[in-house]
């Protein structure tokens, strides 16, 4: 875990890394509110396929997004072992369904490599960079890119 000590200088930031299938992703820890286990959600009518439904988060209605499906990968078959990352995106709170939370990373901007030129619009939309840590590749996801503020769109 040498990287943890290495970059505790200014400009370093903490990220939460999680796993979807065989890929690893991470998001800024500041946008994460809490992490909880999967419980069956109430499906919503007329919702896109990656929208798993809504959950009761201490009295608030929390929409659950299947991040795998949202990123264009295979839809998740949720089990109690799956994890929901409750994150604040813009002014809304959403739950992200992922396979498991794997790590908390402290990195500086130097660690983040630019996203390679790829053709997929989807990847361009959410990927903000790539981290190489312990020979693993972790993709930094920008949640705002996944859920644009709809008040502007509307």
């Amino acid at each position: 875990m040498s990287y943890l000590v290495k970059n505790l200088t200014q400009g370093s930031r903490e990220l939460i890394a999680f796993r979807i299938g065989d890929q690893e992703f991470c998001v800024n820890i500041m946008s994460v509110r809490e992490i909880r286990g999967w419980t069956p959600a109430t499906p919503m009518p007329h919702s896109p396929s990656y929208m798993k439904g809504v959950l009761n988060l201490r009295g608030a209605v929390l929409p659950i997004i299947d991040l795998s499906a949202r990123l264009g990968m295979r839809p998740t078959e949720p089990s109690p072992r799956h994890v929901i990352i409750v994150a604040q995106v813009n002014r809304k709170v959403v739950g992200l369904l992922v396979e498991a939370v794997s790590d908390i990373l402290t990195v500086t901007d130097d660690n983040i490599q630019p996203t390679p030129e790829i053709s997929s619009d989807l990847e361009k939309q959410f990927a903000r960079g790539i981290l190489a840590i312990d020979k693993r590749m972790i993709c930094l996801v920008e949640l705002e890119g996944l859920f644009p503020d709809e008040s502007e769109a509307a």
């Binding site: 109430t42 499906p43 007329h46 959950l55 009761n56 209605v61 859920f147 709809e150 769109a153």
Partner: protein
């Protein structure tokens, strides 16, 4: 709800308006030229003026009117809001705030400053352009015509009472025939906290004999040390009675424990004279019944006898004026005391603290409600697991759990009571508005209210007052005719304005009906053409013309009045209603009046719902929408065309709507015979039979916003959380019915569908 409470609300609103005014002006100062900002500033001043007019705060109205006139010039682009203009306006906003504070707390404003600003404002309004007619009408603020309510007092509202007893000294010497008692009555603070009132006790005492009272104020501390709920006064009463000591004690029977009561038999004649010289105790004949009369009556007395009162005592306080007038005019009445009046005064000052309220951020209340809801669910789950793991039913854990359950229920009820409140206070405020406007316009109006106890969310109530006031003003000012004209038309000279509230399919519907002239469509049309809202040859239906009045800057009143008619009316109303997630519609019949109908959501209000199962999902259907439920038989289902099916109910045919299909929960239509049909009535009228799989039962549910974290979902009104902690969706019956008519549920671009 008394006047003070209503006034307090007004001042609270004033604070909000003033904040908005200032921020708007600052925005303009920063170069923002958005007409919406100008409108917001204008509205703030207009609202303050309107409210102040209702409370007779003349200084405030006069100043706000001038200010408003100048703003109107800015709004109509007759005056360029340059830095210099805005400087004057910001100063004016400060003066307006000062005037508001002065009206609330007493005290005075810098007259020269406000007068100077009035001149500057008027100069601006007259300045670069021909003066608008309104500016000519603008009255200069009256130098000093303060109403009693704003009579100058020191900031705390308390005032020492310079009152001379000399004028009436010794006029009614005690008759020697009866024994005289000297009663010392010293109430403790507990007496007041138990709802007793010294003046009432003293009045009771006065009924058993002739008495005179001296109020000892020696213990009254300095103002800053005074405990508003403390008791500092005590009374020395000299009473002539044949009831004896027993009779006197009887009067204080219920207060005895909370006061120090000392009763001494006095020697007649010399003793009482001695007492007179020792104590500054002079009998003051005073009719206590005056204390019962409302201040308004007393005030009238005062003004009628103003000269006498002035001669009697050099009074500043209203209460003492009243005492003076009474002392002069009604000496023959049985004895009482000015001290009691003073006590009354002191209590009046104490009273506001009794009904004190605090304004709490609604978010905090919401969070509390959410957490309590969670508590209830958690508690239920805990009980469940204890029962499962414990077969000894009488264990102490079970007992404790039961108590916990009752406690949580109680907490939930109380917390819910914070949010859901009846619309009554708002309706009551409207009654006042109607009276005021009726007075000003010289019309005779009766306000009829219905459904005052309809409960609705606090946010809705708070925000309802402003649009409703505008609408009522419009209804009385523009809607109703003058009494003479009404008689000529064969109508009751007294106009009726009816305000009703009711729950309807999970929304609150508020209707405002007047029996006036209705909308003058020709005039509306002309005005709309004059204001370039429509082209001169536009072909509009009656309904479209009626709806023109919701446009900004639209007013059919010929002249600008103090109350309404500057065109901030209906567009503001519509926007406020829309901001609440509501709809407003108007229907009008020429010569018969107009009806404004507002339909508002009951956000977070408790909803009675029927919990149903559709395609394995639990849904809640608002009970208000359901007319009846029935189990369809195969013989009553009729196919109609390719996909439609009708169900025959008592020989009438009603379209069958499969909820699961409409909400896309299943691909195929369900077999109606296996389910239950809910006969619903939708807002647009017409009945539909909604097909669900099964009914689970009825329950009250708390409405949770879906929009807060997700987005609006077509066909779903909101969500709720059931006892098992899961989210259930509340069906939007109107939308589902509309969808069944062939309009597909609107798919909106949103968080969910982007990408």
């Amino acid at each position: 709800m008394d006047m003070n409470e209503i006034k307090e609300i007004f001042f609270q609103e004033c604070e909000e308006q003033l904040a908005e005014l200032e921020s708007g002006l600052l925005k303009l100062n920063d170069g923002d030229r958005d007409p919406e900002t100008v409108n917001a500033v204008f509205r703030a001043v207009h609202s303050i003026k309107g409210g102040a007019g209702a409370f007779g705060l003349d200084d405030l109205v006069a100043f706000a009117h001038v200010f408003e006139t100048t703003l109107d010039c800015v709004r109509s682009n007759k005056l360029e809001p340059t830095q210099d203009v805005l400087k004057v306006m910001l100063k004016s906003a400060d003066v307006l705030a000062d005037l508001t504070n002065a009206a609330r707390d007493g005290g005075s404003v810098d007259e020269s400053r406000s007068r100077g600003l009035v001149k500057e404002l008027e100069a601006l309004a007259h300045g670069e352009v021909p003066a608008p007619s309104a500016a000519v009408e603008a009255p200069a603020p009256k130098a000093a015509a303060p109403v009693v309510a704003v009579a100058p007092t020191d900031p705390s509202g308390f005032q020492p009472i310079p009152f001379s007893f000399d004028d009436f000294g010794g006029e009614d010497e005690p008759a020697a025939a009866l024994p005289t008692y000297e009663v010392t009555f010293k109430p403790r603070a507990e007496l007041f906290s138990k709802g007793n009132e010294a003046s009432l006790l003293l009045r009771d005492l006065s009924r058993i004999g002739e008495m005179s009272i001296f109020c000892n104020t020696d213990d009254v501390p300095a103002l800053h040390k005074m405990d508003p709920e403390g008791s500092y006064l005590h009374w020395v009463i000299s009473i002539k009675t044949d009831k004896g000591e027993e009779g006197i004690r009887q009067v204080f029977e219920f207060a005895e424990w909370d006061c120090e009561l000392d009763i001494k038999l006095q020697e007649d004649g010399a003793a009482s004279a001695e007492a007179d010289s020792e104590l500054p105790m002079i009998p003051v004949p005073f009719d206590l019944s005056l204390l019962d009369a409302g201040p308004a009556v007393a005030e009238a007395d005062t003004s009628a006898d103003v000269a006498a009162a002035a001669a009697a005592a050099d009074t500043a306080s209203n209460v003492m004026q009243m005492a003076g007038a009474a002392a002069r005019g009604e000496k023959k009445e049985s004895a009482a005391t000015a001290a009691a009046a003073a006590a009354n005064n002191a209590q009046a000052a104490n009273n506001p603290s009794a009904g004190q309220t605090i304004r709490v951020d609604l978010d905090r209340v919401d969070r509390l409600i959410n957490l309590v809801g969670e508590l209830v669910i958690n508690q239920a789950m805990l009980s469940q697991s204890v029962i499962e793991n414990d077969n000894n039913g009488t264990s102490s854990i079970n007992m404790g759990l039961e108590e916990l359950q009752q406690l949580t229920r109680e907490i939930q009820d109380s917390v819910m009571a914070i949010r859901a409140q009846p619309v009554k206070p708002v309706f009551q405020r409207m009654a006042r508005t109607v009276r005021e406007i009726a007075d000003i316009t010289g019309k005779s109006v009766r306000l009829v209210t219905e459904g005052e106890n309809t409960e609705v969310d606090k946010t809705v109530i708070d925000k309802l007052a402003e649009p409703l006031t505008h609408m009522i003003r419009n209804a009385v000012d523009h809607g109703l005719e003058m009494p003479e004209k009404r008689v000529a038309l064969g109508k009751n000279p007294e106009g009726t304005v009816k305000l009703t509230a009711k729950h309807r399919s999970g929304r609150i519907v508020i209707e405002l009906t007047d029996d006036g002239a209705g909308i003058n469509r020709e005039k509306v049309r002309q005005k709309a053409i004059a204001n370039d809202l429509i082209s001169a040859d536009a072909n509009l239906t009656d309904e479209e013309i009626d709806n023109l009045i919701f446009h900004a800057g639209f007013s059919t009143a010929d002249k600008v009045s103090d109350l309404s008619g500057r065109g901030v009316g209906m567009d503001v109303v519509k926007r406020s209603i829309q901001a609440l997630g509501g709809r407003i519609s108007i229907s009008s019949k020429p010569g018969q009046g107009s009806t404004f109908s507002m339909s508002l959501p009951l956000t977070l209000a408790v909803l009675d719902g029927m919990v149903v199962t559709v395609a394995g999902q639990t849904l809640v259907v608002p009970l208000t929408a359901i007319v009846e439920t029935l189990q369809p038989e195969a013989s009553s289902i009729h196919s109609f065309g390719a996909t439609q099916r009708l169900i025959s109910i008592r020989n009438s045919f009603c379209p069958l709507v499969d909820v699961g299909r409409i909400l896309n929960f299943r691909a195929m239509q369900a077999n109606p015979v296996e389910g239950v049909a809910l006969l619903v009535e939708s807002e647009g009228g017409g009945q539909r039979a909604l097909m669900v799989d099964a009914i689970q039962g009825q329950r009250q549910v708390v409405i949770k916003s879906l929009e807060a974290n997700y987005t609006h979902v077509p066909g779903i009104a909101a969500a709720t959380i059931l006892g098992d902690g899961r989210v259930a969706l509340i069906l939007d019956v109107d939308a589902v019915v509309a969808a069944s008519r062939g309009q597909s549920l609107k798919q909106e671009m949103s968080l969910a569908s982007v990408g």
